[in-house]
Chain length 573, copies 2
């Protein structure tokens, strides 16, 4: 491709977008924002996306068959799985009266396809002989995100590879799950980010001891925080990290007099700590949940959040929700002022270990506008027989296994694999007949890779102060050929020959054939775009019958004789 | 691919879908209907779709650059082009309260992308030096069709290749337009339907003398009717066919007495003809339009429809719409009973040539429930100075150039090219600066090929009573290998070798390795699926150290020696 002909060239605008990836990719002419969370792929960007999707496809073809489902789905499918209330779900309908008169139905715009593929597979699979089945697609998805603000990392419209597998048993699911995990490892290696990508344990959902696994690429812009267990060499997603709060230190050990303090309308722990003139660690966040219709008061130290996944596991209940205002009042308390003191006996109390080992701490007074201060275990409230770990881990938390703070890493999720087990097959009554003729549950897994997100993540992690530095596997072009010339001179003609010869050899060349811009601008554009190999042809290099060759990832340049150029490039790409 | 492993095998169900293509493709395991007008592509179907899209892509790469726009668009874009009222437009929004609370905006789901690409190109193009630009994408589109009923030929969700070109002048547009037309011709040839596909003239829109061009594939299920002008060898879409109604013959030539007949509530011409006991050709359909705010009465012979495109050209007005009930009453008439008799002088009257040469015809009495019969030119109403051709052509119509009835062909549109000129660049104020520094209008063309529609059209035209007969360029597999075997016998082992060897040579083989079905069923499935070359390996063929080879498109079989097989197949694919 001649750069002078390319649509979507680099832009001198210094507009900053919501993220480094959007800013860099826009400036370099790879993408264009349609609106928040919705991006067009210009020719350069589409080349990268297509290469990523083809690498993903190659690896998925080894473990499944490709099909293509639809963006639209009838509402009944989402009704059956009880997921019509999901907060990112979008629907469609006619955009005007004339359109609605033609067809007044509304449809779901799928954010994921479990609800679609399960009944499809059920249609074709009746017997154990037809299992396992593994199917994938690469397709647009839609999510009504509140405030998408990470460029390509989180979009309202995005592309994903999603694979689903169906099995006769949990064992068969889990052995395929390992196969898929290894295919994922190979995929991220092939994409050139294997060294920056780790597998993190994440929640497997409510009623399984299984973890799901996230493939996380270390990345400052990432929305996730990973906790590394140095003992087992395992990364944890913050929701499942076994965590211990750092101890609070006290200058003296004296219990002070317990008191109720009026703090009108003060609810948040930070505001309260400031009002009471105590460290936030001395406050207590107590929340009332309802688990299987029984009230449960849950407390964590101020500064922490309750992790509902951990809490559900501790409770072992089927359902969990926040209590309503009326339910809070029914236990004699008031929303915003719930505390663990003097609760009715039928209220179960679950207290996080971060609340242990404190002196003179605060907790809600179960009375509007009042806070109890200088509460002490033993004196004011019986110390619970057991403290739990029900908090979302945060930076600084102690690894209970090493007794040292976790090393933490910011990361962006690029893939996940999930043992769904029978969640969706149950919803659709999808069973199979086993060898004995008995009806059995179908086990299912799902496996995602966000392909447009990968463009963004790789842009986030593969760049320097001058621009993008693409891994060679997915760079838009393999070679960036810069001609320094003011017209149809020798440098231009030699470049034309090099361009033709490399193209003939199947090497992808972006030829900066512009004769009306300064060399400095050409170099800056080459760096901004980030193709892996740069060749410069000028009158000066030709005096030595050579061209200059430089890798984008290195500062070194070397002169290469014209006759050696093709061979040398082949060793580099 | 081993057929025993393929997801989406042939189905013995005889369910009839809304069209031959949907029935055949579903039965053969290529597609699965999600709901009316929305189809999933199973592995076989996706292979065909991907091959079609790759062929289209190869040809479009010769004339433009690929990018990828978005399915979602902000409403403002469609507002700017005045197209928010289009009757197939769909919009999205949050599907539930939680989702709408996160983001309450609604977006357009694009049915086409002129409204999106024009502002994109305007962003990058300021000068004549940056033109022309030609960009295309292959992407999902959404249309809120009233009752999609032609399988893949008309969908609510479908895929299209759409290319848009931008030019400094109408001349430059039209010369690119010819280039695009030739690229389309080559594309349909490469897809294997060149011999069944013709270019038809269609309307170019309101204010141009230009035609647009449709690529139409002859097809019984097609929604279009083409009229062939034997003199100029041109095909016309029915809306632009110069047409002359066949003459009406009269046994005697006597004028009868004009009368007003009460026919309460009788409005349609067929019902009226039956009521009056006259041929439908003797009735007159008169409609009141408003063109540039002036009333126009328009009449065609019973049995014809008014073509608004032709009418607009005759009137030369900017706007045209049907009159409201009040406007009909304002000229002293009544909706359903409008006639051309005794209209106020300010009403312009346009009469189709089909109304000429009639005796004793009927027309509305401009009075509720009344019809005037035995109307005659000259006696009852002045014969107009000029009759026009303002009707939609229909089968049996005379070609004015040859004076003979047109040969007509049913066809399905597989592509179209359209000289949009400045319609969209005007809407977005997209201009460029010419060599003299003056601001000039940008000229634009659009060029579509429906890729999922092509799957359906090719299925409609490439089949026989036993199933699909794919052109070799787009067949899901090149070779269908049938092994007749009850287990791991010689036939099975030889087949395994053939499968391996052909696959290694890059030949795509679907190997029917099933050992638990009858040979008859295997042959029936091979015919239903329609891969171009069938090889049968059985104990019997191996006795001759041979296999049986048959083309799907032929009844002949031949025996091919095992050692010649690969070479022979290479000549066939």
């Amino acid at each position: 491709m001649r750069y002078s002909q390319l649509f979507g060239r680099t832009s001198k605008e210094s507009k900053q977008y919501d993220s480094k990836n959007a800013t860099l990719l826009t400036k370099a002419g790879f993408i264009d924002q349609t609106m928040a969370g919705v991006y067009k792929y210009l020719p350069l960007g589409l080349r990268v996306l297509t290469k990523i999707e083809n690498i993903v496809r190659t690896h998925m073809d080894e473990i499944g068959q490709e099909l293509l489902m639809t963006a639209l789905a009838p509402k009944e499918l989402w009704e059956k799985t009880g997921r019509l209330g999901i907060d990112v779900l979008m629907e469609t309908r006619g955009a005007n009266d004339a359109s609605r008169k033609q067809n007044d139905a509304s449809y779901i715009l799928n954010p994921t396809h479990e609800d679609n593929i399960t009944p499809l597979v059920a249609q074709f699979v009746q017997s154990y002989r037809e299992l396992p089945v593994a199917l994938y697609q690469i397709q647009n998805k839609f999510r009504n995100e509140a405030r998408p603000k990470s460029g390509l990392l989180r979009g309202r419209e995005f592309r994903m590879k999603d694979l689903y597998s169906f099995h006769v048993s949990k064992d068969d699911l889990m052995s395929y799950y390992e196969v898929a995990k290894q295919a994922y490892v190979r995929t991220f290696e092939a994409l050139g980010i294997g060294d920056k990508t780790v597998i993190a344990l994440a929640s497997g959902g409510d009623f399984t001891e299984n973890f799901s696994h996230e493939f996380q690429t270390f990345c400052e812009a990432g929305e996730d925080l990973l906790f590394y267990d140095e003992k087992t060499e395992v990364y944890y997603n913050r929701e499942v990290t076994p965590s211990q709060a750092p101890a609070v230190s006290y200058p003296d050990n004296e219990m002070k007099e317990r008191a109720e303090v009026l703090g009108e309308g003060i609810i948040g722990v930070l505001e309260l700590a400031e009002f009471l003139q105590i460290p936030v660690e001395q406050t207590t966040k107590t929340m009332l949940f309802v688990a299987d219709e029984q009230p449960v008061a849950v407390a964590v130290r101020g500064g922490y959040e309750v992790d509902e996944g951990k809490l559900k596991k501790v409770l072992g209940t089927r359902t969990l929700r926040m209590a309503t205002d009326a339910e809070v009042e029914a236990i004699g308390s008031k929303v915003g002022y719930v505390g663990i003191l003097d609760l009715p006996e039928h209220v179960r109390v679950i207290i996080d270990e971060s609340c242990d080992n404190r002196l003179n701490f605060e907790c809600g007074a179960n009375r509007e506008n009042y806070h109890t201060v200088n509460v002490n275990w033993g004196r004011d409230i019986q110390k619970p027989e057991q403290f739990y770990d029900i908090k979302v881990a945060q930076e600084g938390d102690i690894n209970p296994a090493t007794k040292k703070p976790y090393p933490v890493h910011k990361a962006a999720e690029v893939g996940n694999i999930f043992p769904l087990e029978t969640k969706f097959s149950d919803a659709f009554g999808f069973t199979y007949t086993d060898e004995s003729g008995a009806s059995q549950k179908v086990y299912m897994g799902s496996y995602g890779i966000g392909t447009t997100r990968l463009v963004g993540v790789i842009a986030e992690v593969c760049n320097d102060e001058r621009g993008l530095v693409w891994p060679k596997q997915i760079a838009p072009f393999q070679v960036h050929l810069v001609t320094i010339s003011k017209g149809e001179d020798e440098a231009y003609k030699v470049s034309e020959n090099i361009y033709g010869e490399l193209s003939e050899q199947g090497i992808e060349v972006l030829w900066d054939d512009r004769i009306d811009v300064r060399a400095g601008e050409q170099f800056a554009d080459a760096d901004l775009i980030g193709n892996p190999v740069r060749i410069v042809v000028s009158q000066k290099t030709l005096e030595q019958k050579s061209v200059e060759l430089k890798l984008r990832s290195s500062e070194d340049t070397e002169m290469v004789a014209l006759e050696d150029l093709v061979d040398q490039i082949k060793t580099l790409i």
